[in-house]
């Protein structure tokens, strides 16, 4: 017997036959198919119980209620609107919906870092422990303070609507520096206008909820501004109501607000106030104004006498002059005189009409005189009556911080003038951030040894980037409290990374532009993911370590304890109620008629707030007791200040006085205007990857940004769609692509905000151009606020 080929084949045949009678081939085929369907390298999300946790949205100042979906309590998978919250009623904006991409951002700073090489060198940023970081900053601040130089420590914060704002104010007062600034906002302008006309410290607020006719002077209602939900609600309500109820948008560009409004009034950029005054002219000359309110409550409508006994022109004789007649207004605004007449008639005849401006814009405020023109229009409508559509944002009865204690160092340093005021002489100083930058760059009266930047990215998100950068370069030590490696953090000397808002206690005190009282509390939805620390806790620890009067002024052990202290005040006031179930309608709240409290004490209120119910209260209305006349002032006596009285009468009155952009028309014949879009986050937050999908390819394509120009402008310049051209302004020169759009006004170039990042990660950086680097800032002569409206520009072939 030999084992040959035949035997082999016989065995093989048997094996084949046998195998076919076993599950082996079928099982292998089946398993291979299954294997091919499950791609092991794809992430497989961990399963488990899905729960909901309440939170508040702090990605803008809108104060929306959120709820997060969590898996097994430790993994956040979705942010939704909280249906019980009366502000957003379950809705959410794209930024909020993408909010978890900030929590899980790859560009988050994982732990404290210290620059060991030259500023801005990424390889020099070395990890240090929290103890080291805090003691480094603490020692520096203590040394400066004991040298009597506390005023050389400055801070820029974006906190306006959270209690961090008050905590920083308290800390800087006790420490002894006047140099605490906020990132600019339209609220700065609203505050100036409210202070001048009513003597109040709070900003103006608009009752959009009860208005039947909203005449918006360039307000960013629907274009991705801050706190958009009230405008969304107004849109959906006014679209339902038949007749003349509507939104009228006055703006040079056909924005989303303009397109969705019942009427779009296209004007020359920056001439919105000229139209407002033109309407006021027609209302006054036609007698179509609330004479009852004006006679009883308004100062300066008729001619008046100033403190020095000098006769002054009143608003009535000023506005009735021919300079504001329809034909003149038509020349300034580019509208037809007939259209102006129609608008004035419509606005004057509507029972519930309000003129709004500046809301929704997180960016720089307006020219004060222009804001006063919009206020005047509301005064003529009688909107400042107790139940009127324009009021002052209520002051929340949160517990006041204990009176700051000042020791000798603090007192000595606080005597020093705020750095911006060493140069500027504006009569009603507000947030002098740009004055501060100007002073730093042009040789300050005293140097800034430490600049702390809290949750802000001034190096990217402020117009006139060049100026801001030069100012940052002049600072001794730059300390950043950012959660993210943004453009400002990248050049910091010391970084103490903050928790993101979903990992910490935070609050929202009021909503910019909203007339009702509002307070919401956010508790952490999960444990901090990284070695970060609440900046509030850091500030409290710094104060504790400094001991003495600073520690005594900030006695709280934790930020949670501090917020409990504040909420306790709210409870003690026994005003307002919590919206612990859906169905609360803020629009029905009447000024002065507080809802009945449905909480007992501080602990009870804290518990309810922590469970996601917000606190709300009736609007405060407007009071004029603090003005010189005790009335609403159309002629604002407060501009008189302490110095000599202004020579011209119109310096007291709302008037049209654009702050002209620099540069010659011959060289820079066009105007550049930057615009906000709901598709791109600007400010402290960089665009999350989810939102990148929303950005149209005619706004951004690859690395190229598109500017919008009118077909007529394109024809004059000989440009076609997609052409790569050079955009030059007085500030910078850059390459952009052309998008030809009839939304653009002839002669004006529009560029989107929020692009052009150099920091962060591959999902964000090198996309387009930072509009802020091209824009110019002009200081408002009244408030010293940095204002931005347009910059002279040129487009030419690259």
């Amino acid at each position: 017997m030999k084992f040959g080929r035949r035997a082999f084949l016989q065995i093989a045949a048997g094996a084949v036959g046998g195998t076919l009678l076993t599950p082996l081939p079928w099982k292998l085929a089946d398993d291979s198919a299954i294997w091919s369907q499950n791609w092991s390298w794809r992430p497989s999300p961990e399963r488990g119980e899905v729960t909901k946790a309440p939170a508040i949205c702090t990605f803008c100042e809108g104060g929306c209620g959120l709820q997060a979906r969590l898996v097994n309590g430790n993994r956040a998978i979705l942010l939704e609107g909280n249906p019980a919250n009366p502000v957003n009623e379950g809705g959410i904006c794209p930024l909020g919906a993408a909010g978890l991409q900030f929590l899980y951002a790859p560009y988050r700073i994982t732990q404290p870092l210290k620059q060991t090489k030259r500023r801005g060198d990424p390889s020099g940023l070395q990890p240090i422990s929290w103890e080291e970081a805090q003691s480094e900053l603490g020692k520096k601040l203590s040394t400066i303070r004991s040298d009597g130089k506390a005023h050389t420590v400055a801070c820029i914060t974006a906190a306006r609507q959270s209690s961090m704002d008050d905590l920083l104010v308290q800390f800087f007062a006790a420490y002894g520096s006047p140099n605490l600034f906020k990132m600019p906002s339209q609220t700065d302008g609203m505050k100036t206008a409210a202070f001048l006309t009513t003597g109040s410290s709070g900003p103006f607020a608009f009752d959009l909820e009860n208005a039947a006719y909203i005449l918006s002077f360039g307000a960013n209602l629907l274009d991705g501004g801050t706190a958009p939900n009230r405008a969304f609600a107004a849109l959906r309500r006014l679209n339902k109501t038949p007749g003349q109820a509507r939104i009228v948008q006055v703006e040079s560009r056909c924005s989303i607000t303009a397109s969705k409004a019942g009427q779009w009034v296209p004007v020359n950029p920056g001439t919105e106030a000229a139209l407002a005054l033109g309407i006021a002219h027609l209302m006054v000359t036609g007698g179509a104004f609330d004479s009852e309110f004006v006679n009883a409550n308004v100062f300066g409508f008729d001619d008046w006498t100033d403190a020095a006994g000098k006769k002054r022109q009143g608003f009535k004789s000023f506005i009735t002059s021919n300079a504001f007649a329809p034909d003149e207004t038509a020349k300034k605004t580019g509208l037809d005189a007939a259209k102006i007449r129609d608008l004035a008639k419509e606005f004057a005849s509507q029972a519930k009409a309000v003129a709004v401006w500046g809301i929704g814009q997180p960016d720089n405020p307006n020219n004060t005189y222009h804001d006063l023109a919009f206020v005047a229009l509301n005064a003529l409508k009688g909107n400042l009556k107790a139940d009127g559509l324009l009021s002052i944002a209520p002051d929340l009865p949160l517990a006041d911080l204990p009176p700051g204690q000042k020791d000798i160092f603090a007192e000595r340093a606080v005597e020093q003038k705020r750095l911006d005021l060493t140069k500027s002489k504006c009569p009603c100083p507000q947030n002098g951030l740009y004055g501060f930058f100007d002073a730093l760059v042009s040789g300050p009266q005293y140097p800034i040894q430490v600049l702390m930047v809290h949750e802000a990215n001034p190096a990217h998100s402020l117009p006139e980037t060049k100026l801001v950068q030069s100012a940052l370069d002049k600072v001794g030590t730059l300390v950043c409290f950012s959660s993210f490696m943004d453009e400002t953090a990248a050049q910091a000397d010391l970084i103490l990374p903050n928790h993101t808002s979903l990992e910490r206690y935070d609050d929202a005190k009021g909503i910019p532009g909203a007339p009702y009282g509002y307070y919401a509390l956010g508790a952490p939805i999960l444990k901090p993911l990284l070695k970060t620390k609440h900046t509030g806790e850091v500030v409290l620890a710094l104060a504790r370590d400094m001991a003495g009067s600073v520690a005594a002024s900030l006695p709280w052990k934790t930020y949670e304890e501090y917020l409990k202290f504040r909420v306790d005040g709210l409870a003690k006031a026994q005003k307002g109620a919590v919206a612990d179930k859906s169905g609360v309608v803020l629009a029905t709240l009447k000024a002065g008629e507080s809802p009945k409290p449905n909480f007992t004490d501080g602990a009870d209120l804290w518990k309810k707030l922590k469970a996601g119910a917000c606190w709300y209260d009736a609007p405060a209305g407007a009071s004029f007791t603090k003005t010189a006349s005790g009335k609403f002032e159309l002629a604002v006596q407060a501009v008189q200040g302490k110095g000599a009285a202004p020579a011209e009468d119109q310096m007291f009155l709302p008037h049209f006085r654009p702050l002209m952009p620099s540069g010659k028309e011959a060289e820079l014949p066009l105007l550049l205007v930057s615009y906000a879009t709901p598709f791109i986050a600007s400010g402290y937050l960089a665009n999350p990857p989810f939102m990148n999908k929303l950005v149209p390819d005619y706004m951004l394509n690859g690395q190229d940004v598109f500017v919008d120009i009118n077909p007529e402008t394109a024809k004059t310049l000989g440009f076609a769609r997609g052409d790569l051209v050079t955009l030059k302004t007085s500030q910078a020169e850059t390459a952009v692509r052309i998008n030809i759009s009839p939304a653009a006004r002839p002669g004006v170039v529009y560029i989107p905000r929020g692009l052009g990042h150099k920091a962060y990660d591959e999902y964000i950086q090198n996309k387009g151009v930072n509009a802020n680097s091209l824009m110019e800032v002009q200081l408002d002569p009244i408030s010293g606020n940095g204002t931005v409206w347009a910059t002279r520009a040129q487009l030419r072939r690259a």
Partner: protein, 251 residues
């Protein structure tokens, strides 16, 4: 797929989007991405390669300044209710995409899909996207993935499902609560998110439901209605130019 076309079931889930309320903010699209584990890439400006179940289309009235107006149109899958089959389900060679005749949902089973993309060609609404690359996320963001929706793989087609996993979950709850699972209501992520409440969702066959009423509104229209695809997504607008654009492919 049923040979009968329409089943006798009294449920037909559908959507109504009010374009007079919609501002095109994109919250629906972002909420959809977060809910459905939709992958993203560093550069999303190539729109033909970008995966977006709820796409925001711009449209304008074609006029010059200052008569120019524009609008946005959010476009989910239309879950076409045409007789016998939807355009996409008819061409699928492997039955990866089918319509459930019990509720009208057109769904797509990823592991079954062979990536031939016939369905993408057949869909007149560009509602379907192809995974040209392996879906990847930055490591940290893998923590954001929902276990209620499976992640896809390279080489398969995906599209809006009307968040049918939410329906399945609502049905489970009905079983546990002893309620009728065939009478449950649910809302997809986009409708939940919409800050202007422009998106309504529900049973089109229930005349008393919000969508039942709104789909009969004089402002109501559907996109490319003349094709006979019978979309279950209705739009509302009072502007004729928007309605005309919705049917522009066929004169």
């Amino acid at each position: 797929m049923s040979e009968k076309g329409h089943a006798q079931s009294g449920v037909r889930y559908g959507m109504v989007i009010d374009l007079d309320k919609c501002t095109g903010c994109g919250a629906c699209s972002v909420a959809c991405q977060a809910e459905n584990n939709i992958s993203f890439r560093p550069d999303e400006s190539m729109k033909l390669r970008s995966i977006t179940w709820m796409e925001i289309y711009p449209m304008n009235n074609g006029k010059d300044y200052p008569d120019y107006r524009f609008s946005y149109l959010p476009r989910p899958c239309m879950h076409c209710d045409s007789d016998h089959h939807s355009p996409c389900t008819f061409v699928c060679p492997v039955n990866a995409t089918t319509r459930d005749e019990n509720n009208g949902l057109v769904t797509h089973i990823y592991p079954r899909c062979i990536g031939c993309r016939y369905c993408m060609v057949a869909c007149p609404y560009h509602a379907r996207d192809f995974n040209w690359w392996d879906p990847t996320w930055p490591k940290q963001m893998e923590s954001m993935l929902s276990p209620e929706v499976s992640t896809r793989m390279r080489g398969v087609v995906e599209k809006c499902t009307f968040c049918h996993h939410r329906l399945l979950k609502a049905r489970s709850k009905a079983y546990v609560d002893g309620a009728d699972p065939n009478k449950v209501t649910y809302t997809p992520a986009c409708a939940d998110a919409c800050p202007t409440r422009a998106i309504s969702f529900g049973n089109l066959m229930d005349a008393s439901s919000e969508v039942g009423k709104l789909s009969k509104d004089p402002r109501a229209f559907r996109i490319l209605e003349k094709l006979g695809t019978k979309p279950k997504v209705y739009y509302l607008s009072r502007h004729d130019w928007i309605k005309n654009l919705a049917d522009n492919a066929i004169k």
